[in-house]
């Protein structure tokens, strides 16, 4: 049978929740999904040999039979709930089930009826964090229990005595923390355990009795000794498996480690975006490992890999040319530069100026041939392969350029033929970049860039000339061309755009646009076009994406991604692997899968300061590099090393905020919703939720330096503005341009970062804070909530931010000049503001609502702020350039206070929503830390244009025990209300309000139990008679509620 039973093993969080997903292992295809529990996560899946699946979660068990008809079907058999937390389940030969529960009890159940047959207690009573059962029948059954007291207990339930207590056979001591997993391998008689103390320990079982005595007796007499203590994880180790002479362990540090039984670490991958790896399983037959992470991702990995060692190609310098041995006896004829040709052959140029061509014969052998020898090329020579890898250009110290072409008449490549030899540049050539298969760019001294075309008659033809701006190290490090535009990255980390004009004038052209030091001070490492986008990498460890506006003749930097390597060197886009980044992390070459955000390959090559080259053709990856003056070749078949991702991960930490991005064609027929989520993992994600409630991430924005807590969305004519804010008082403004096409399942979204703003406390700039007389408490402020509203259609946006230092901060954003200005900060609550909102009254006045940990709702009149905002915008547009730094200083008006406030809750207000009713009345729903749900009908009285406004509570209704814990999400709609709380319930209420008859009330209509822990909020949308509720917290769950039946 070609399916995998090891899916969903202990899957947690995102999207998995109470469901089981089944995938086909060899094709990585999703087969089916089945909801197993409501409000309870699936913790493990156990299969027997007859396609029966037992699924456990908390105290619940469900049995399914997996049937294959046209496709796989799960047919439910039995379900029951135990009295205690289930740690492990085991199929016995007779079809019964044995279960170990958290209080160190083994029970036996009939798998068809779900009836309990017996309970056996261990004599040691304590809480277990993990357990394992081994043995095919009751009489042979052994329990390996990992306790909270750092021990592993081995006991046999069949040894029960009169009091139903069974004695402990062995107690394994050694771990210095709670035991999180135990596994046992009967073949090698090994026990492996993992623990809170970050170690993996291997124990050997030495059976003293080898006669035919009972298995339990054998175990009783056995000697168990600690073999190895393995350290390799940087945090707690959650699971382990012993399989095929190796041990696989996964942990909180998101590592997947493979150990050999002698205790040495064989392999280690980092995966799941830094989140915990909760589950692991393995199939020896399929040579596959599967992991499930806290980010909701499921990945496949190879168990055993071959051909992963780089080969050393023998190289004898004295075979070629004259003897270059110095007086000291050192051989000077070693390779300097290296390249790979289209036929997979190697070109090197040696220190003594020999150009060599090598056909790779076997694993450690190459057939070296001398092609050319030239004193000009000695000691300094650049070697660059053309994009088609059929030409190689050499550039010398004194300005000579030599181009050789590979003889491609035979399959294995026949050698190199000299095409051009010319002294092209006066002086040293600092850099050479191929722009296409017959055009390249040279960089001479003084930043002179010359573009050359390979002409006829073995001649170079100068096409154009450019000049780099003056800088310390004035040479290029990367270049690319598209249409009439040349882009160059220089050694100082700047990127310049040149317009390629006609070459008749022969005048030096200066850049038309520059991004100064965009990649830090260590230089740009690559510039490559992939489709319509230009990607750049730099020594600052980032990958940036740009869009060229050809009509305007300028570039736009769309976004920057910080990569998990310090030296990204180049990028590659292929259909089979997506966007790959090759670069260096300390002494290793790493291949980074940017879509799945994981490292695919690590090769210890010694670091980036060497000549190296690589090719990826289909699934064949070749990498050559120079190390210790020798040529190393690494080849691998990517299929063997890289296994597909079954399900992509989502946020790796708590999701703190979710907002819906309005679509331009905002009609109900639209088959998807665009959601934007922010998380503690510092990323903002754009995702699409389809009709079937499936979530698909389309973009990950990760330039925040701290957790992102709040998002505000504001619609513009040509897209949407997104404001994101969070820790370290950082605010970012993004622009989304959504291209919806008919028949497209996923819309195309162009995402651009417009502005980044950080509050800087004046005391922070102090270089020596300890000299300050005033002692201050940590001034780092967090943005707790944001709300935005357009005050002038499409141009000016008002943004209010509730901050953890108790201030309400008001910002104005001008869409024309893409500038965010802080207008002022105002304090009223003197406590952390949790929620903010903006109301536009019937008389078109802007009112801000703030809710804080004091349980008060305050109302602020922002009329003057808005007026100022519109005026200042005019002022700005008058003197465009005068928007200097001093403009950004906030206007603090201490006297500004809210015009009204009401105390609604005992403590913090965590959630709210409101709807507008006729007569400037607002129905405000608030949910607090005190579990109360309150509906307040509030009337905002606006007596005169410049008179004080008033807000009055006309009617109020409250349920002080609406939920069992703090209410964190509320949405109010026409006569319905949805609330959610940390107690994992989503409650649907019906409300009615009659201001005339003074009645306001709400009643529970339906309740749903979510599997998402620590719910932080709620988003709802209505379509027809359905409400879709999307709750987020430690995960995300999308639930559809039918209004009529309230199911």
């Amino acid at each position: 049978m070609d399916f995998t039973t090891f899916t969903a093993a202990f899957e947690t969080d995102y999207g998995i929740g109470g469901c089981i997903h089944i995938f086909e292992a060899h094709s990585a295809k999703f087969i089916t999904k089945e909801e197993v529990f409501e409000g309870q996560r699936v913790h493990n899946v156990f299969a027997d040999n007859n396609q029966n699946l037992a699924i456990i979660g908390g105290k619940m068990v469900r049995i399914f039979k997996l049937k294959r008809e046209d496709t796989f079907i799960l047919s439910p058999c039995a379900a029951w709930t135990t009295e205690d937390w289930i740690q492990y389940l085991h199929w016995l030969d007779c079809g019964n089930l044995a279960i170990v529960t958290a209080h160190n009890v083994v029970s036996v159940w009939n798998s068809r009826t779900g009836e309990k047959e017996k309970d056996i207690f261990c004599e040691v009573k304590c809480i277990l964090y993990c357990a394992l059962l081994n043995g095919s029948s009751w009489g042979e059954l052994l329990v390996f229990a990992g306790t909270v007291f750092q021990q592993i207990l081995v006991w046999a339930p069949s040894l029960e005595n009169d009091t139903l207590n069974s004695p402990v056979l062995h107690t394994l001591k050694g771990h210095d923390g709670v035991i999180f997993s135990v596994s046992y391998d009967p073949e090698f008689q090994l026990i492996c355990s993992t623990s809170d103390d970050r170690s993996v320990r291997l124990w050997s079982v030495d059976f003293q009795l080898c006669d035919g005595s009972n298995r339990v007796t054998q175990w009783k007499e056995a000697k168990i000794t600690l073999l190895h203590t393995m350290y390799g994880h940087a945090a707690r180790v959650w699971r382990n498996i012993i399989i095929d002479n190796v041990i696989i362990s996964v942990g909180e540090d998101s590592r997947l480690c493979i150990w050999s039984v002698d205790g040495s670490l064989q392999k280690c991958w980092k995966t799941h975006q830094g989140a915990s790896v909760w589950s692991v399983d393995c199939s020896k037959e399929k040579n596959l490992i599967v992991t499930g992470g806290a980010d909701g991702g499921i990945s496949l990995w190879p168990l055993h890999t071959y051909s992963t060692v780089p080969h050393l190609l023998t190289f004898h310098g004295n075979l070629f040319g004259e003897d270059c041995t110095t007086a000291e006896g050192q051989n000077q004829n070693f390779p300097r530069r290296i390249g790979l040709t289209s036929k997979g052959n190697i070109i090197t140029v040696t220190d003594s100026g020999c150009l060599l061509y090598c056909t790779v014969l076997g694993s450690e052998e190459g057939n070296w041939r001398l092609v050319h020898q030239d004193k000009k090329l000695a000691s300094y020579c650049l070697l660059e392969m053309s994009p088609c890898r059929q030409s190689v250009a050499l550039a010398s110290m004194d300005g000579y350029i030599l181009v050789f072409k590979e003889d491609c008449s035979s399959v294995e490549g026949g050698g190199l033929i000299l095409d051009v030899e010319e002294k092209a540049v006066a002086g040293r050539i600092f850099a050479l970049h191929w722009l296409s298969s017959d055009i390249f760019l040279s960089c001479g001294s003084g930043g002179v860039l010359e573009m050359w075309k390979l002409g006829f008659a073995h001649q170079l033809q100068k096409v154009n000339e450019f000049e780099l701006p003056k800088s310390k190290e004035q040479w290029t490090s990367a270049a690319a061309v598209k249409g009439n535009f040349l882009v160059c990255g220089d050694r100082n980390g700047s990127i310049h755009l040149f317009k390629i004009g006609s070459n008749k004038t022969h005048s030096m052209q200066c850049p038309s646009q520059s991004f100064y030091k965009i990649h830090g001070r260590l230089g740009v490492s690559s510039l490559i076009w992939h489709g319509d986008y230009l990607y750049s990498t730099g020594r600052d460890g980032t990958l940036r994406q740009y869009l060229l506006r050809e009509s305007e003749g300028r570039f736009e930097c769309l976004n920057a991604d910080k990569l998990q390597m310090d030296w990204p060197a180049t990028t590659n886009l292929s259909s089979s692997f997506g966007l790959l980044v090759l670069g260096f992390r300390s002494v290793n070459l790493v291949m980074w899968d940017h879509m799945e955000r994981r490292t695919l390959l690590t090769i210890p090559c010694g670091g980036g300061h060497r000549s190296w080259d690589w090719t990826l053709e289909g699934h064949m990856f070749r990498f050559i590099y120079l190390k210790d003056k020798m040529v190393h070749l690494y080849t691998c078949v990517m299929d063997e090393l890289v296994k597909p991702v079954l399900q992509s991960g989502f946020h790796s930490k708590q999701i703190s905020c979710i907002q819906q991005v309005p679509l331009l064609r905002a009609d109900a027929s639209s088959s998807y919703r665009l959601l934007i989520t922010a998380s503690e993992d510092t990323t903002v994600r754009l995702s699409v939720v389809s009709h079937s409630n499936a979530l698909h991430t389309i973009a990950v924005l990760q330039s925040h330096i701290s957790s992102v807590r709040a998002i505000a969305v504001c619609q513009l004519d040509d897209g949407a503005l997104v404001f994101s804010g969070g820790g370290r008082a950082q605010l970012k403004v993004w622009k989304l341009v959504i291209q919806e096409a008919q028949g497209l399942v996923v819309p195309q979204v162009k995402c651009q970062e417009l502005y980044s703003h950080m509050l800087r406390d004046p005391t922070k700039g102090h270089k020596k804070p300890w000299l300050s007389v005033e002692r201050t408490v940590d001034p780092e402020t967090r943005y707790m909530d944001l709300c935005a509203a357009a005050v002038q259609t499409g141009t000016t946006v008002l943004l209010v931010a509730g901050c953890s230092d108790g201030f309400l901060r008001i910002f104005g954003f001008c869409a024309l000049c893409s500038e965010l200005r802080l207008f002022g900060k105002y304090s009223f609550h003197e406590r952390c503001i949790l929620k903010v909102s903006l109301i536009k009254t019937e008389s078109f006045r802007h009112v801000a609502l703030t809710m804080a940990t004091d349980g008060k709702v305050a109302f602020w009149d922002l009329t003057t702020c808005v007026e100022e905002l519109i005026c200042s915008k005019h002022r700005n547009s008058c003197h465009t350039a005068s928007a200097d730094k001093s403009d950004n200083t906030p206007v603090v008006r201490g006297s500004f206070k809210p015009f009204s406030f009401v105390k609604i809750h005992q403590s913090g207000i965590n959630s709210f929503d409101w709807i507008q009713l006729p007569g400037d009345k607002y129905l405000l729903a608030t949910g607090g830390d005190d579990r109360a749900l309150v509906l307040s009908l509030i009337e905002i009285v606006t007596p005169n244009v410049h008179e004080e406004m008033r807000a009055e509570v006309v009617l109020q209704w409250r349920d002080d025990h609406a939920h069992a814990s703090q209410i964190t999400g509320l949405k109010i709609g026409d006569s319905v209300l949805v609330s959610t709380a940390v107690d994992q319930r989503i409650t649907l209420w019906n409300w009615n309000c009659h201001p005339v008859s003074q009645s306001l009330a709400a009643a529970v209509k339906a309740r749903y139990y979510s599997a998402v822990a620590d719910i932080q909020g709620l988003l709802t949308w209505k379509s027809g008679s359905f409400i879709t509720a999307c709750v987020h917290g430690k995960g995300l769950e999308v639930v559809t509620i039918q209004l009529d039946q309230g199911s």
Binding site: R41, R831, L834, D960, D1014
Partner: protein, 266 residues
Amino acid sequence: MKKSSKDKRDIYYRLAKEEGWRARSAFKLLHLDQQFHIFEGVTRAVDLCAAPGSWSQVLVKKLRSHSNSDVSKVKIVAVDLQAMAPLPGLIQIVGDITKKETAQAIIREFKDDTAQLVVCDGAPDVTGLHDIDEFVQAQLLLAALNITTHVLAPGGTFVAKIFRGKDVTLLMSQLELFFSCVNIAKPRSSRSTSIEAFVVCQNYKPLPDYKPTMYNPLLNLLYDDHDEIVEGANKLVSPFLASGDLQPFDSLRNQTVKVTAIFSYC
């Protein structure tokens, strides 16, 4: 060992360092006392899962400073699996709270008398899987309750940490079997982003036929019908009280404040 982006050094952390408390959690007990006056008239108190000892510090300071009580009568016993730094006026027992011997040792320390107040601030090392963490915390609370039934005098008070997760109402109902007044409170020194809260059980009143035992697997039998308890019409009323009056800062706030002694202790 856990990586986190949250700022752990809030104002209560600093205040604790400044005022010499072993952990910031000391303020939680102080705030609970402000609301519930749990120390009134108490001379015999037990601190379960005491390490590192900040709650013991509070008990020592508060009980020994009652103006009208005789300091020599005050007895405070701290129990933990591991030993902690000694405190003057504190008796330490190194023992397991699930063992009967520990309960007997406590009674012995009180010279065959029972305690008037039992506090427990114990929590497991959280794994990050909320449902397991909540389960283990509930088991710890029930274990603390179990030993409390051995040592607490009728009318006494029990204070313990509780996670306000999905099964909190069930736990409340279990506690209400033993106490006539059960409240959940979240002191303002407890981070509002955490699911942690405190259950304050007053007026210990065991059922007439209840016999304290260490043999039952921690009241597990009650776990059967929890859906009914939660979803039923008579939702348990366990008034949530925001502990303490609203003083000028809370734990989420991180404004630039000059640190002065805002709380004064005798």
